[in-house]
C-alpha cells in the first residue's frame, strides 16, 4: 500500500517535471512546475517532514510560481521564434546530457540503498520521540544555534536583493528624470 503511494507520487513528480519541458505553452509549463512543487511537497510529507513540506508549498507553489505566472501573463508570450542555427540541436544535446546525468546519479544512488538512508530518518524519529519536540522546534533550535550565521546572513541577502531590484527596476533617477539609454556608448 505504502509502496503504491510512494511510486505513484514519484511517477507523478517526474511526469509533471517532464511536462514543464514538453509543453510549448509557457503557462502550461508553469502550471506543470506548480504541480511538480506540490508533488515534491507530498514527498516530504511521506518522509514525515511536515514543516518542510508546507514551507515548500507556501514558498514555491504559493509565492514564487505565482510571480512566475504573473510575469508570463503580463509579457503575453507568443510561440518562441525559431532559434539560431547553432542552438537548434541543443534540445537533443540537452536531452542526451540529462539522460547521462540521470544514469550517473542512479549509479551513484544504487550504491547507497534506501535501507542505508533509513537509519538517519529513524534516528530523527527517535530523537523526536525522546525529546518530545516537534520538528519545527528542532529546526528552530538548529537555526538559532549552530546555523545562526547563515540564518542571519539570509536577511542581508534579502536586503541586497531588495536594493538591487529597486536599482534595476526604477524608471526615474534621483532628479526625477526618466532613465533612458545613452546613445554614444563607452560607459565608464
Amino acid at each position: 500500500m505504502f509502496l503504491l503511494i510512494y511510486s505513484t507520487l514519484f511517477a507523478l513528480t517526474v511526469v509533471f517535471a517532464l511536462g514543464v519541458l514538453v509543453f510549448r505553452n509557457t503557462v502550461k509549463s508553469a502550471i506543470s512546475l506548480v504541480f511538480t512543487m506540490l508533488c515534491i511537497a507530498a514527498n516530504y510529507l511521506l518522509m514525515r517532514q511536515e514543516f518542510v513540506a508546507f514551507i515548500q508549498v507556501i514558498v514555491y507553489a504559493g509565492a514564487i510560481m505565482v510571480v512566475f505566472l504573473f510575469v508570463i501573463m503580463l509579457l503575453n508570450l507568443r510561440e518562441p521564434e525559431s532559434p539560431a542555427w547553432y542552438l537548434r540541436g541543443m534540445r537533443y544535446w540537452g536531452g542526451a546530457l540529462a539522460f547521462l546525468f540521470f544514469f550517473v546519479l542512479a549509479w551513484g544512488i544504487q550504491v547507497f540503498s534506501v535501507a542505508d538512508l533509513t537509519p538517519g530518518a529513524a534516528a530523527l524519529e527517535e530523537l523526536r520521540r525522546e525529546s518530545g519536540q516537534a520538528e519545527v522546534t528542532q529546526l528552530a533550535t538548529l537555526m538559532v544555534t549552530r546555523y545562526i550565521v547563515p540564518f542571519l546572513l539570509t536577511s542581508v541577502l534579502l536586503l541586497v536583493a531588495v536594493i538591487g531590484a529597486i536599482v534595476m527596476a526604477r524608471r526615474k533617477d534621483e532628479d526625477g528624470r526618466d532613465i533612458t539609454f545613452d546613445e554614444d556608448e563607452e560607459g565608464a
Binding site: V27, G62, A63, M73
Partner: protein
C-alpha cells in the same frame, strides 16, 4: 457498535483502523455537509442584509421569507447550458474551477470545530456507543479523537499553504478565458493575493509566538478560560490586519478587484456559466467560512465560549448528558456563532464600503499593513522573549499578553491618529481645494 467495527475491521486490518476510518468519514461528511448546506442560506442572508441596507425587500418569493432562493439559484445553475467560448485554452479553462474549489475544501479539513475527546470523557462516550475500551478509551488503542477532520502539527502552516495555492484557479480562469477583462481580473487577483498573504502571515505569526506552537489545538488551548484570555486581547492589531487581509484573500468587497463588475464585467469568471460558475461562487463562500473559522480559532478562542461554564460540576451532576453537551455546544453553537459574526462582517462591508482602486489596494497592503504587521510582530516577539526570560516555563503569562496588546494598540492608534490621519486630512483638504478651484474656474456662476 463494536460488532460493526469488528466486521469492518476484517477489510481494513483491525477494528481500530475501521474506527479511525469511519470516524474520519463521519467527520468529513458532517462538517462538509454542514458547510455546503449553509452556503445557500448564507447567500440568501447576504442578499437580504444587502437589501435592508439598500432599503428594499430583497428576495422573498421562494420559500418562507425567500429562504429557499439560494437552493433554487443553485438548481438553476445546475440546469443551465454550459458554454465554452471560442478560442479558450480548453484544458486550463476546465481545470481552473476545480483548482479554486479543491483548496477551499482542503482548507476546511484543518478547522477544529470541537475539542479533542480523551481521558474519561472518551471512556464514557465509548461505553455509551458500546465500544470495546481496549480499542477506544483512555488506555486503549485509540486514546484521543479530535473533533477536526485532521490535526497536523503544523496546522496553521497548512492553512496558509492551502490559501496561497488557491490563487491559481482564479489566475488561470482569467488567462484561459481568452478575454481581456478576464485576464485583467486574473492578474489583479494574483497580485492582490500574494500581497495580502504576507500581511495575513504576519498577523498569524504573532499568535503562533504566543502559543509557542503551530498546532491549532495548542493555539486554542492557550485561549482557554473566558474571553479575556482570547488572543484578541494580546493581538488587537493583528486581528485587524487579519480581517482586512482576509477580505482581500477571499476577493470580497472592498477588495473584489478581480471581479469588479463595473469595470471588468465579471473579471475572471466572465466567461464561465452554469456549473463551473457555480463552483467559483460556492468556493468563494466556502473560503469565507474557512477563513472566518480560522480567524475565530486564532483570535477568538475557537470553540471556547466567552464565559467559562462550570463543566466539571455539570458533568458530575448530569454525567453523560453534560459530556455530550460539552462536545456538542462547541461545534454547533459557539463556533458557528463566531463564524456568523465574521460572515456578517463580510456582508456588511460589502453593503457599506466602496471598492478600492488598484493603486489604493497596493498602497494599503504594502505601505500600511505590512509595516504595521512587522511592528506588531516585533513588539509581540519582544514581549514573549521578556516573558520567557523571566518565567522560563515556556508559557506566556496573561499579564504579558495584556501588556503586548496594550503596547501594540497604543502604537497603532498613535500612528493612526497622530501621523496617518493628519497627513490624510491635509491631503484630502488639498484635493478638495483643487477640486473647488477647478470647478469655480469653469463655472462662471461659482466664480462670481
Amino acid at each position: 457498535m463494536q460488532p460493526l467495527f469488528d466486521f469492518l475491521g476484517q477489510f481494513t486490518g483491525g477494528a481500530g483502523n475501521a474506527f479511525v476510518i469511519t470516524a474520519a468519514i463521519l467527520k468529513i461528511a458532517l462538517f462538509l455537509g454542514g458547510v455546503l448546506t449553509a452556503v445557500p442560506f448564507i447567500i440568501v442572508f447576504e442578499r437580504k442584509i444587502l437589501s435592508w441596507i439598500q432599503d428594499r425587500p430583497g428576495p422573498n418569493r421562494v420559500g418562507p421569507f425567500g429562504l429557499l432562493q439560494g437552493f433554487m439559484d443553485g438548481l438553476k445553475l445546475f440546469l443551465k447550458e454550459e458554454i465554452m467560448p471560442k478560442g479558450v485554452d480548453k484544458t486550463l479553462f476546465l481545470l481552473a474551477p476545480t483548482l479554486v474549489v479543491i483548496p477551499a475544501f482542503l482548507a476546511l479539513c484543518i478547522v477544529p470545530f470541537g475539542p479533542i475527546i480523551q481521558g474519561e470523557h472518551l471512556d464514557a462516550l465509548g461505553s455509551f456507543l458500546g465500544l470495546d475500551p481496549a480499542m477506544v478509551g483512555s488506555g486503549g488503542e485509540i486514546s484521543q479523537v479530535a473533533l477536526a477532520v485532521t490535526n497536523p502539527n503544523i496546522g496553521i502552516l497548512y492553512l496558509l499553504a492551502i490559501t496561497s495555492v488557491g490563487v491559481y484557479g482564479i489566475t488561470l480562469a482569467g488567462w484561459s478565458s481568452n478575454n481581456k477583462w478576464s485576464l485583467l481580473g486574473g492578474i489583479r487577483a494574483s497580485a492582490q493575493m500574494i500581497s495580502y498573504e504576507i500581511t495575513l502571515s504576519l498577523a498569524v505569526i504573532g499568535v503562533v509566538l504566543l502559543a509557542g506552537s503551530l498546532n491549532l489545538y495548542d493555539i486554542i488551548e492557550g485561549q482557554r478560560g473566558g474571553f479575556w484570555h482570547w488572543n484578541v486581547v494580546a493581538q488587537p492589531v493583528a486581528i485587524l490586519l487579519f480581517i482586512v487581509a482576509m477580505f482581500a484573500e477571499t476577493n470580497r468587497l472592498p477588495f473584489d478587484l478581480a471581479e469588479a463588475e463595473s469595470e471588468l464585467t465579471g473579471g475572471f469568471h466572465t466567461e464561465y456559466s452554469s456549473m463551473r460558475f457555480a463552483l467559483f461562487f460556492m468556493s468563494e463562500y466556502v473560503s469565507m467560512i474557512v477563513i472566518s473559522a480560522a480567524c475565530a480559532t486564532l483570535f477568538l478562542g475557537g470553540f471556547f465560549g466567552p464565559i467559562p461554564l462550570p463543566w466539571e460540576t455539570l458533568m458530575e451532576q448530569f454525567g453523560l448528558v453534560a459530556i455530550l453537551a460539552f462536545y456538542i455546544v462547541g461545534p454547533l453553537v459557539i463556533l458557528p456563532a463566531k463564524v456568523s459574526f465574521f460572515l456578517f462582517l463580510f456582508i456588511f462591508a460589502r453593503g457599506a464600503l466602496p471598492r478600492l482602486r488598484y493603486d489604493q489596494l497596493m498602497t494599503l497592503g504594502w505601505k500600511y499593513m505590512l509595516p504595521i504587521g512587522i511592528i506588531n510582530l516585533v513588539v509581540t516577539a519582544c514581549g514573549v522573549a521578556i516573558d520567557m526570560a523571566i518565567t522560563r516555563d515556556g508559557e506566556v503569562a496573561w499579564v504579558t499578553k495584556v501588556s503586548i496588546g496594550a503596547v501594540t494598540l497604543v502604537l497603532f492608534l498613535g500612528w493612526e491618529l497622530l501621523i496617518f490621519s493628519r497627513r490624510r486630512r491635509s491631503q484630502l483638504s488639498r484635493e478638495y481645494r483643487n477640486l473647488y478651484r477647478k470647478e469655480s474656474s469653469s463655472d462662471p456662476a461659482l466664480a462670481s
